[in-house]
Amino acid sequence: MNSHGRPTRPADAEPTRHATFTGNRGLDMEEALIFETGRLDATGVDLEAPAPFSSRLGAHARREAIGLPGLTEPEAVRHYARLSRNNYSIDVGLYPLGSCTMKHNPRLNEKVARLPGFADLHPLQPVSTAQGALALIEALAEALLALTGMSAVAMSPKAGAHGELCGMMAIKAALAARGEDKTRSVVLVPDSAHGTNPATAALIGMSVRAVPADADGVVSADSVRAALAPDVGAIMLTNPNTCGLFERNIVAIAEAVHVAGAYFYCDGANFNAVMGKTRPGDLGVDAMHINLHKTFSTPHGGGGPGAGPVVFSERLARYAPAPRIVRSGDALALAEHAEDSEAFGRMSAFHGQMGMFVRAYAYILSHGGDGLKQASEDAVLAANYIRVSLADLMSAPFGDRPCMHEALFDDRWLKDSGLTTLDFAKAMIDEGYHPMTVYFPLVVHGAMLIEPTESESKASLDLFIMALRDLAMKAVSGERERFLAAPIHAPRRRLDETRAARQPVLRWTSPAPV
């Protein structure tokens, strides 16, 4: 008979939040920097020394220590596994960052991207040894053209902003071909645009002229006509726009832009809302990037990588950059030199984000045409469901108009609470949610942009709505402290960002000896 029992019910003791010796709190663990725990002589990789040989480094051999700490494999695994636990992620919870499209990242896509035939393939192998890779890029390109109704696609841009740059360079090349690149140096950009739009225009030496949106959140054709002038080379318009609205005057805008001799760049960051519902090619768009890491679910990876293929209209197709995939008989080849065509140049070395292409293509194959359309419809439905479910408590800048894939609120409803959008966002962290996008778009005061995506079940949406309703009621009923102190149930409380910016510490340096 076993005579050693143990308690199986909680003891009757009052909990205190005492400090712990380690600073850890159960599963919530502190982790030092590798520079503090690692050693110059520690390594987690067994590499044998080569047989003696005579160096050809000459006078170029490194003489000084580098200063790189090493960890053995178990230590390294623990370091990064622990760090990872301090991150919120889409796998763990609803991640309603408006404009960022945090949808489910299928692991199948990770698996196929790692097939040696894709992952272990060098970009400059003879093309005869990479026919499957070129075929995949071509198949993805064709799918993007089918979805957008456009004429050509440049696959090499590495992310959305890089795609914008690619599209605007093609526009500049087209203007140059007409001898108008010097005279048409202005780009029309609404104030609600992503910051990347004006930054991109500036990169190619164009200046920005703002176009106001109407009170209902969309740009009118009249505003565009009023801003159009002989010095305008292009308009950059996001559609659906950053307020989550479809630019319903887009066809008239495109027409006006074309009549005025300019080009229409569409920021396609929000294309995930309209797959199978409309095609940019039918709307009069000349160039548009597609964020594969948003619309086609390639993982955001804590900030990247992305991929930003750009689709072009017939008017711009010929200026698409190198490389291009070309057919010669049954075989595929690469046209790698811009000089051989009217291509405006090259965006990056090699052929684009192949690893992202494989994932995006797997996503497209998995959904099929119907599934992609359904994904867009579900995303829009979920956003509207949230919108109407919060409308009585929170204020919407553009009234009760249906939204596309994201619901936008402002901070008027917080006006008398003494709380800010940021306070509300931080309180969401304590409820186990990642905050929505805040303070963007800039045109809406204290903006809160909620994008639930199609990946949430109804139960998940309902719980989120109830949690936000509960918080909103607490916010307006004067429970200020919980908001001002928030978050308290997170790995960190609010950070001193002023200090970070006033005395930047951007790398580890060894502490001065005591």
Partner: protein, 125 residues
């Protein structure tokens, strides 16, 4: 005697003789929040009224400071360069940005007096 005039962009210029001391108003520093960095003009640079003359940055915003009047920079405030927080603590005095030798003192008449500026701020609320 000194007089302080304000612009609608919330710069001030405090004039003492031929030289004006330029900074941003207390209202402006409150709107901006903690100032973390300033970019000041070099001595000798000439500005026309309304030219972008300096940049004041908080953590989440970068704000151009426009020359309230035309003139040549005769001094930049090294203290705010080293301690940008001075602008938050004392925008109207120790937190000044640069001094201009006025090119056209007549321009001062187009700027607001303190009373006018305070009235203007009320219209913004």
């Amino acid at each position: 005697m000194t007089e302080t005039r304000f612009t609608k962009d919330h710069e001030y210029v405090r004039v003492d003789g031929a030289v004006g001391i330029v900074g941003i108003s207390d209202h402006a520093q409150k709107q901006l929040g903690d100032v973390v960095f300033v970019e000041l003009p070099a001595v000798g640079v000439k500005f026309a009224k309304g030219d972008s003359a300096a940049v004041v940055e908080s953590v989440k915003a970068a704000s151009d400071v426009f020359a309230p009047v035309s003139g040549e920079v005769v001094e930049a405030n090294g203290a705010v360069d080293a301690t940008p927080g001075l602008i938050n603590e004392d925008a109207m005095a120790g937190g000044w940005l640069f001094k201009l030798r006025l090119a056209n003192p007549g321009e001062l008449a187009s700027l607001m007096s303190l009373a006018d500026y305070e009235a203007f701020l009320k219209t913004l609320a």
